[in-house]
């Protein structure tokens, strides 16, 4: 009897894997004849940036994966090959007044949330309010401050945004000044249904509402099931107005912060078909995946983000500020002394040493400016011209990891070579007080988005870090301000390019900020399984990052 039990037990243990395998093989055999796009699944990375995924709150705060983009819709999108072309989405038509101040959007007549309630212009108003008063930090917020009454609403001196009006399906947005990036901003802006939040919604706790556990949306896919924090399953929304997406089922597999290695393993094992995230922003990771699983391929996208040294032109709280920082020749000497190639060498094939804030691959790049080359002699000459007396400078930096510790040590060395004694220290504790109040540094290593000329030159947000490095207002106005006003108002691409070149040249002459490297972003994907419009690989990072229409109808799955 005992023997019998043992034998039975062993048999059952041996059978278990066979049962699973057998089942899978059979199912595969039956479906082989069918269209794999209808039966297969595209597994995409569902990444909870910097935190933990306990809800879809990441949609609102910040997201780096395709999942929210497939579920949610925006008023409009841009075309990935020509970003001046606008693709209608939730709004099927729109009007912009001749002075560029009034935008009117008409939301599609039959557009409903997945709970069956109609989408109204009021939902957009609600979402704008949430964006302005929410606890999170939004790319859009800076841009939305051009909306009339936005500042008052943000400051809580008004109970509504006076520049936004909703009448049924008609939405009117009035600006205080013309703003060329308005459409681009709206292309990334996701509206939420007001009726699923309480009337007295507390925007500072916006992410904690139960809504985010099973969100209602109106995008090309619907949420079929979700298990936090493991995965979500999206199925094609057959009642969606747009062109029919090619792939029926997409799953988001969750990887939290620190899950990079696990996601890499999942790709090597063929269980994750698309990873596009800051976490994979490393060419070494991508080439490792491709080496170990030849089904995969990667592409380095042009990215608008870059790393720079900001300069302190206004003095520090402790009085140890180096007065030469106010001298443009001194700043230019620092620029020439830094070994930007060394910074770039940490990301082979991905990072580019910069001479201006603009990536040399960007059409806005000023081709008359030569690519960056370190020049110790020229730097020394500039120091002499500035009458430099050997007083030390202090470097602060934001990224706390070994790589940056090494790079900052290198920078200290580079500066010592031209005769500037320097010290570097990482700013972790209360970086904002350090940067805004004490300013006990002369140059500070940080990151910025070059794409937004507005962000880059600090006109829109007085009191930000760019106030500090651009010095007094008169200089700022003269060198950058008047051009930037035009940048933000114009939507003419030719004029934009002219302005971009002017700004780059002025910035180079002014010696501030000091650009270091631009970082291209990585997309790693299962090339054998997944097909998409090849324009993707040519288009910039924008295509993935929410702004452009992803052309879901071109997506296809191949059976391997």
């Amino acid at each position: 009897m005992k023997k019998l039990v043992t034998v039975l037990f062993l048999c059952s243990v041996l059978l278990i894997p066979n049962l699973f395998a057998g089942g899978a093989a059979e199912a595969g055999a039956v479906k082989a004849a069918e269209d794999f796009s209808e039966t297969g699944t595209l597994n995409v990375l569902w990444y909870a940036a910097g935190g933990t995924s306990g809800s879809f709150e990441c949609v609102y705060r910040d997201y780096q994966s395709q999942v929210p983009d497939l579920l949610y819709d925006t008023l409009i999108k841009l075309d990935m090959e020509d970003t001046s072309k606008i693709v209608p989405r939730m709004a099927d038509r729109w009007e912009v007044s001749a002075d560029g101040l009034v935008y009117t959007f008409y939301i599609r007549e039959n557009l409903n949330w997945t709970d069956g309630k109609p989408v109204t212009a009021d939902d957009v108003v609600f979402s704008l309010e949430a964006q302005l008063r929410g606890y999170g930090i939004q790319n859009e917020r800076g841009s939305f401050q051009f909306i009339k009454g936005a500042q008052e609403y943000f400051d809580k001196t008004a109970n509504s945004i006076s520049g936004v009006k909703a009448e049924g399906k008609k939405l009117t947005i009035t600006l205080t000044q013309p703003y060329g990036f308005m459409m681009r901003t709206l292309a990334t802006f996701v509206p939420y249904p007001r009726h699923l939040f309480p009337a007295d919604v507390d925007y500072t706790k916006f992410g904690s509402y139960d809504y985010w556990k099973a969100p209602v949306h109106c995008g090309p896919y619907v949420l079929e099931s979700v298990t936090f924090p493991d995965y979500c399953v999206l199925v094609r929304n057959d009642s969606w107005y747009g062109p029919r997406p090619g792939i029926k089922r997409v799953t988001g597999i969750s990887f939290d912060a620190g899950g990079t290695d696990a996601a890499v393993a999942a790709m090597i094992a063929g269980r994750l078909d698309l990873a596009h995230s800051n976490a994979f922003n490393d060419v070494n990771i991508a080439s490792n995946v491709v080496k170990q699983n030849p089904d995969y391929a990667y592409n380095a996208f042009f990215s608008p983000y870059y790393r720079l040294f900001t300069t302190n032109l206004t003095g520090s709280a402790d009085g140890k500020w180096n007065k030469f920082m106010a001298n443009a020749d001194f700043r230019k000497a620092i620029n020439l002394a830094i070994d930007k190639e060394a910074f770039a060498s940490y990301f082979p094939g991905q990072a580019v040493a910069l001479s201006t804030a603009v990536n040399p691959g960007d059409p806005l790049y000023d081709k008359s400016i030569p690519l960056f080359k370190r020049d110790v002699e020229a730097a020394k000459a500039l120091l002499k011209k500035a009458g430099y007396d050997g007083s030390p400078i202090r470097i602060a930096y934001y990224y706390n990891d070994q790589m940056h510790n090494d790079l900052m040590d290198l920078t200290v060395q580079n500066l010592a070579e031209i005769g500037i004694p320097a010290e570097s220290r990482v700013v972790i504790q209360d970086i904002y007080a350090a940067i805004y109040e004490q300013k006990n540094w002369d140059i500070c290593y940080a990151g910025a988005n070059q794409l937004s000329g507005v962000e880059n030159y600090g006109v829109v947000n007085p009191g930000t870090i760019y106030d500090v490095y651009l010095g007094n207002e008169a200089v700022r106005e003269e060198l950058f301000g008047k051009y930037l006003k035009e940048v933000s108002a114009t939507s003419d691409p030719a004029r934009l390019k002219e302005l971009a070149i002017l700004l780059q040249q002025n910035s180079l002459n002014y010696g501030s900020p000091i650009p270091v490297i631009s970082m291209n972003k990585m997309m790693i994907y299962n090339d054998a399984k997944w097909d998409f419009d090849p324009a993707w690989l040519k288009a910039s990072d924008l295509a993935i990052y929410r702004t452009c229409d992803l052309r879901l109808e071109t997506w296809k799955l191949n059976k391997k």
Binding site: I16, P17, T41, G50, G51, T52, G54, S55, E57, R61, D62, Y135, G136, I137, N139, G142, T204, F206, G207, S208, T227, F228, P229, D230, Y231, V233, G252, I253, S254, A257, G258, G259, D261, A262, A263, A265, A266, I268, A269, G270, R271, Y398, Y399, I428, Q429, D430, I431, Y432, Y436, E437, A446, G447, A448, N449, N456, N461, P462, T464, I465, Y466
Partner: protein, 321 residues
């Protein structure tokens, strides 16, 4: 027995309080301004001083440490665990998605490791000084001396990436959340998390078995004409596991603490991984609550095993010890 039970239960309260204080103090010394993790470097530009000051005030980051501690403790007692600093999600929501995963992993790991450890120790003692014993002892040495994450990574490379028999990480295939469907995902972490535990247990069980096998009562049992199986199991083994229970209790915290590493290695979304993620994000409230729950789990598990060993040993059961 009841008295014993309640005495042990009452000792929970000071233990929990001490744990919370220790957690709080520890986190006070963690470097990093939590506010700096709320803002990605690329978006620093949008922040004004005023906004930051407001954020600080709203998050209560300006109060002195002891006030924050009591506020936090009071809220916990009210059942309000607060919000994640990183994404504003209710911490209770995060915990409830993570806790079952860890309980499943550790409970299975504990069960498998205990069964294997006792079984191997038992076999090793019965077959002492034979090749079986020597190879088990050698394996035990390897298991104790090599850190588990190494086994984890090796297992991923071999079974997950080279042969692709098992998923290299995660907890389930999307759309297949059933327990039996999840078994392939559990195999590696469950086995790996208990390796050193199994090895330790095996060595102690072997020693304890050899000890009891020479006891007079085992000889006496044999003189009753009992079968060897019965003598070894009902008398030798039954007595041998009593001292081993202490090892089991002592190793439970180590096993549970192992989840921090093992869950991260296997991308297994449990409490251990949550703690690591939150530490790297400086998400203090989440770290505190998660650590608190882990500590609570250790206390409860130890308590249960204590009760079990009391049941196994009549001398404790009847208050003789």
């Amino acid at each position: 027995m009841l008295k014993y039970f309640f005495r042990r239960l009452l000792s929970f309260i000071p233990k929990i309080l001490i744990i919370t204080i220790l957690i709080f103090i520890g986190l006070e010394f963690v470097p990093g301004d939590p506010i700096s993790y709320l803002i990605p470097p690329e978006q620093m530009a949008f922040m004004t001083e005023e906004t930051i000051a407001n954020m600080r005030e709203n998050l209560g980051l300006n109060d002195p440490a002891y006030i924050r501690y009591f506020k936090w403790l009071g809220n916990i007692l009210k059942g309000d665990m607060g919000y994640s600093l990183i994404n504003g999600v209710k911490i209770s929501d995060i915990i409830w998605t993570r806790l079952p995963a860890t309980i499943e992993l550790t409970a299975l790991g504990f069960a498998v490791a205990t069964i294997l450890g006792l079984l191997f120790g038992f076999i090793s003692a019965l077959k002492r000084n034979t090749p079986i014993d020597y190879s088990l002892t050698a394996l035990g040495m390897v298991g104790v001396s090599i850190p588990e994450f190494f086994f984890g990574l090796s297992a991923i490379v071999v079974f997950g990436l080279t042969f692709r028999w098992l998923p290299p990480g995660g907890r389930m295939t999307p759309g297949q959340p059933g327990f039996f469907q999840r078994i392939p995902y559990l195999v590696m972490p469950v086995l790996v998390i208990g390796i050193s535990y199994t090895a330790t247990l095996m060595r102690y069980t072997r020693g304890s078995m050899l000890d009891t096998m020479n006891k007079d009562y085992v000889k006496a049992a044999r003189s009753k004409g009992l079968s060897e199986t019965r003598v070894n199991l009902v008398h030798s083994f039954r007595n041998a596991i009593i001292p081993v229970m202490i090892i089991i209790v002592n190793r439970i915290p180590i096993l549970i603490a192992g989840t921090v590493v093992i869950e991260s290695v296997f991308n297994y979304p449990g409490m251990g991984k949550l703690i690591l993620e939150s530490i790297s994000g400086s998400d203090m409230p989440v770290v505190m609550i998660a650590t608190f729950f882990i500590a609570l789990a250790v206390l409860i598990a130890s308590f249960l095993v204590d009760l079990l060993s009391a049941l196994l040993d009549p001398r404790i059961r009847f208050g003789k010890m």
